[in-house]
Every structure is written in C-alpha cells, then in structure tokens.
Amino acid sequence: MTNNDYIIEIRNISKSFGDKVILDDVSINVKRGEFVTILGPSGCGKTTMLRLLAGFGQADKGEILINGVDITGTPPHQRPVNTVFQRYALFPHLDVYENIAFGLKLQKVPADEIDKRVMKVLKMVSMTDYEDRDVESLSGGQQQRVAIARAIANQPKVLLLDEPLAALDLKMRKDMQIELKEMHRKLGITFIYVTHDQEEALTLSDTIIVMNEGKIQQIGTPTDIYNEPQNSFVADFIGESNILNGRMVKDRLVEFVGHEFECVDEGFGEDVQVDVVVRPEDIYIMNKLEGAQFTAKVKSCTFKGVHYEMYVETENGFELMVQDYNAFEPDSEVGLLIRPADIQVMHKERICNTIEAEIVDANHVKFFEETFECLPHSGFEEGEKVKVEITFSKVDLIDHPEEGMLSGLVHFLLYKGDHYHLTILTDEGYHLWVDTNDIWDKGDLVGINIAPQDIKIIKSDE
C-alpha cells in the first residue's frame, strides 16, 4: 500500500475539539522534496493539521505515515520533522548559538561538529556573526531567521512552517519568501507550509492544498488552483474573481450574464446549473462595441499601480470586475469579450437547500429543531421522516434575530454579479444558503423566516 515516492501520507485524519469538527476525513500525500502549502482562512484546520504532523495532539481517527512508517502515535521528539513556529518560540534563556545547537546537543553530536553545523545554518539564513547575541535583542525578522536555522540544523526530513512570515512587515515578508524558496532548493527536503495568505502560497509552492472548515477543497499546482478552481470557495479565496450563476447549455456552450459563451468544458450534461468563474484580468474591455460579445457601462475606475480596476454593469444588470492596463472613464459604454479558455465552469455544490425533516401534522413540519408551518400536504404521515427543499431566494433574512423563526449569523458571503449568496450558520449549528439583494456583512446576526408556501416537502429517499 505504501508508495515510495511519498514522504508523507495522511490517511483519513479526523479531529474534533469538543463538538467542533476541526478536521473532517483529510487525506494528503506529499512527494519527497516538494514544497507544499496548506492554505485556508483562519479556523479551517490548517494549523491543527500541521500540529498533528509535528506530534502535538492526537487525531481522533486516521493515520499519518512518514517515509512509509506509521508515526500516528509517535511522540514529537521521535519524529523526523522540525517546526518553525509562528511566534518563533526561541528559548529566551539561551543565546543564538545555544538555541540552534539545542537539538544537536540532545543528539550528542560532537562539539566541533555542532560548531560547524551552527555556522553553516547561520550562513544559510544570513545571520553570520550573530551567534553570541541574546535572542531577545534581535528584531522580528532576525528572530524568524534564527528559528528557521534552529529547525534546519537538526537536518529533518520534513520542515514544518506555521505561518512563519505572518508577523513580519510586507517588505520583509517578500524578501523572506524569496529566501525560503532558495533555501528549499538548496536543502532539497520537504517543506510543509501553512498560511492564510494566498499570494504567499502561489509564490512559494509546488503544490497548494486549499482547506476550508476542516475539509480539503482542492489540491493542485498554483496555476491549477488559480486557473481552474474546483468550487466557488477556492475561486473566491484565491485571487480576485467574478463568480456567477450559469447554465451549461451543452458541451462547450455555457450561458451566464444573459449571454451564451463558447467554453472548453465538457461532460457537465445539457441544461445543467453551474457556477462560472472569470478572472477580472481575463475580461477584455474595449471602446468599440462591434466585435464585443456583450456591452456594459463603466461604474467606477480605480488605479491599482500596475493596472486599473473597473466595475462595469452589463445591460441586464450584472456587475463585473474588470482589470486592464488602460483606464475607461466612468459612464462610458464599453464592449466586453471573454475567451473560451478563460471561462472556468464548476459544478454547483447545491442548487437549493435540502434539509432532513419530520412531519408534525397536516400543515406543520419540523427541521433545524424548529416547527414550521407549511401548506397542507398529502401522502405523508405524522412523524414520517422527509426532506424539505427551500429555494435560496425564498429564505427571508431580517435584521432582528429575535423576530425570526430561526436565528443565526452570516458565515460566508459570495457576490454573484447581481446578488449575494450567503451561507448562514443557525444558532443550532445548521447551514442554510440564501440568495439576497440586501447587503449583509460576515458575522451579522440575522433572523430567518421561511413562508409556508416556500417549503416543499419531498420523500426522504428522493
């Protein structure tokens, strides 16, 4: 079962803290010498995954293999990995030299060999002549270099880096990125890097693992992840994007923003609802209207240094973000064009809310631990387990949580050109997806109402 190309095999790892699921059946294979980045928003489980690799904490389920050896139960000091901690964790009672030599002394490496290795790694992180310095007298960037030196002095097979650059300022971060990449090349060992910074991930990695809410969303090269996001979360998280509802008319033909476009995707079927992603730099914008696929009016134009960022509104009311080297004046009519290869079509994760429910009586149904009025139904018995379907746009959100039948908060939101697609997390911990034209912010508390006629009851096995 073991593949020799893989230095790390993570198999079906799950981990919960209390009743909060942090990692949900995560499997990852890492090739020898790869630079792998685990990327995701805070709370997505990326740091927990790294800590499990280092040996801090135990998974509830699953196993981790390094070099084909099961290390799931191995304590941290016996694992062939070393970690660069986010807050450096340099020992304040030791100087730079002693910090770096800490692991080597434990391994009883001869003193002259320790000397040699410490000097070598200090040179590698450009900190020669700092060996006698007190770690607390160093700047943040210097401390980070010492932390890296300390971790690689042990010559680990795998280097784990937990958001190592997060505490540095932008300029320093850019410099360190280049140095890390160079260091990875020189050392030839496997790097597992955790970050929430998508740009950092795209710059550094051979492979990016995008995580959200304890699940892997996509694994791929930076170009794969950027150009072919597999779902709207990845598309939204990595880079700027226009995410729109679309309909696959047939193979190689997709409809969105009220127009049909040629594309390169096949195999979705005919007349299927999909999500479409178009990167703002992939929309061609021009003054002349002939030759354009559709037209729009420029709403705003902002200079961003390298390019201009414009919001345009199409004739049928969709708002798109466009980036171009040329500025187009607000209120001017422009023609727009999208190349087939630049349209990324994705399966929709769901096309409406489908919720497990139970019939209470002739016109009541219970779901999300609450009883809702519904239209009189037939063919269902009291107490029967059923499902209800609720269209995204039929969920009514109100400002005051206490006035809703349910209450919850806005967990995630996605702009889809002409409306917002919200993920609501109810107080009881259920997810509900809502389409709305109202503007909400992440974290807003909301009341939720659903009208009786909008609750559609179906058999539970449908």
Partner: protein, 255 residues
Amino acid sequence: MNKRSSWALPYAIFLLLFVALPLVLIILYAFQDGSGNFTFGNFTKFFTDADAIGTFALSLEVAIENTLICILLGYPAAWILSNKKLNRSAVTIVLFIMPMWINALMRTLATAELFHMLGIQLGKGTLLVGMVYDYLPFMIYPIYNILNKMDKSYMEAAADLGATPWQVFWKVQVPLSMPGVVSGIMMVFMPTVSTFAISEFLTNNKIKLFGTIIQENINSSMWNYGAALSLIMLVIIGMTSLLQDNKKEVAGGTV
C-alpha cells in the same frame, strides 16, 4: 511640583514616616551606646559573642533548610497545579493558596496544639515542619504563576527539536521558571531569618532564632544592641535580594 506628581505626596509622607525614619533610627541606635555616644561597641559585642553568632548561624541554617524544603515540595506542586492535563479545576489551586488567607500566628498555634495532641516532642523537627507549613504557599504561588503563564510553544519547540519530556522539563521549563523560584526564595527565606513567633511556639523556646534574640533585647530595653542586630539582619536580607536583580525578565511572565 506639577499637579499629577502632587498625588504622590501622601505616599511619600507615608514612606518617610514608616520606612525611612525607622531605618534612620535603627542606624542611629545601632551606633550608639546606652547614653547616646557614638560607638562600634554593639557590633564588637555581637561578633565576639559565640552564643549570638551561634544563634545567627542556626537562624541562617533553619532559613536555608526551610527554603530548600519549600522548593523541593513547592516546585512539583506548582508544576502539577499548572499542568492542565493533571489539574483541571481552579479549586485545587485555591486549596493550596488558602492557608495564606489565615493569620500565620493562628496557624502556628494550631500546629503546636496538633503536635501536643499527637504527643510529638517539640524541637528542631517540629520547627521546620511548622515553618514549611507556613511558608510553602509563598513558594508555590510565584512558581505556579510563572509556569501557568509560560508560553507552551517553548516546550513544544524543545520536544520538536528532540527533547524527551524529562529533557523538556530540565532544559526549558526549569530555567525559564527561575524568576518564579527566586521570588519564592525571597518570600520564604527573608521572613524565616527574622521569625521569632514560630520558634517560640513550636519549640517551646528551646531553640532561639535570630529574630527571638532581637525581640528579647528590645523587650528588655537594650535598644542599641537590638538595633545593631536588626541592621546585621537587614544587610543579610538585602544581600539575598541581589539574587533577583541579576535575573532578567522572561517572556511569558514575571512575578
């Protein structure tokens, strides 16, 4: 004097009256004979009196023993209390700290009664037990405090670099908790040197400590000799506090 610094005035007066003035008086008395003439006589008397030197040495010995026992018992206790895996409730910590809420004299009297009830002969052994009982919380608390606030990533980093749990303890946790130990030493050693009530009650005055001699001299109106002895003790205690100044602050909490 601007407006805000005038707020410090009451405190300055307090310090002057209750700290500076008594100190000056002690120094003045220490260098005077009974009729107010300048003399080194009080000091020569002490340094040539074998009994007094013996008591002084015994006091130091008892204080050092007490402090060592408190470290040996207090450090593991503080470590266990600060370990979230072993100790999940705050109640245990309160139980350990609670003796500090009760007057030391009352506790000492109760301890003496306990020995009496159990028929244990009063002597140096009972003195040490009583002292450890009285001062242990003062050792546990600062050590617990520093261990509790210590950034866990130091221990994780050590384990990550190959240290066994035992090595993590000795090479990282112990050195990083030294400021807490030093605070504990100050809070235990200094008052034990000067204590007299505990030795009086727990040894039936069989063992005299330095504090007892000072108290006896002052009580029998030998103020000048008493002041000289106090000054000597003050110097010794002052020397212990130098211990702390050399220790730098450690990230993750000082006491």
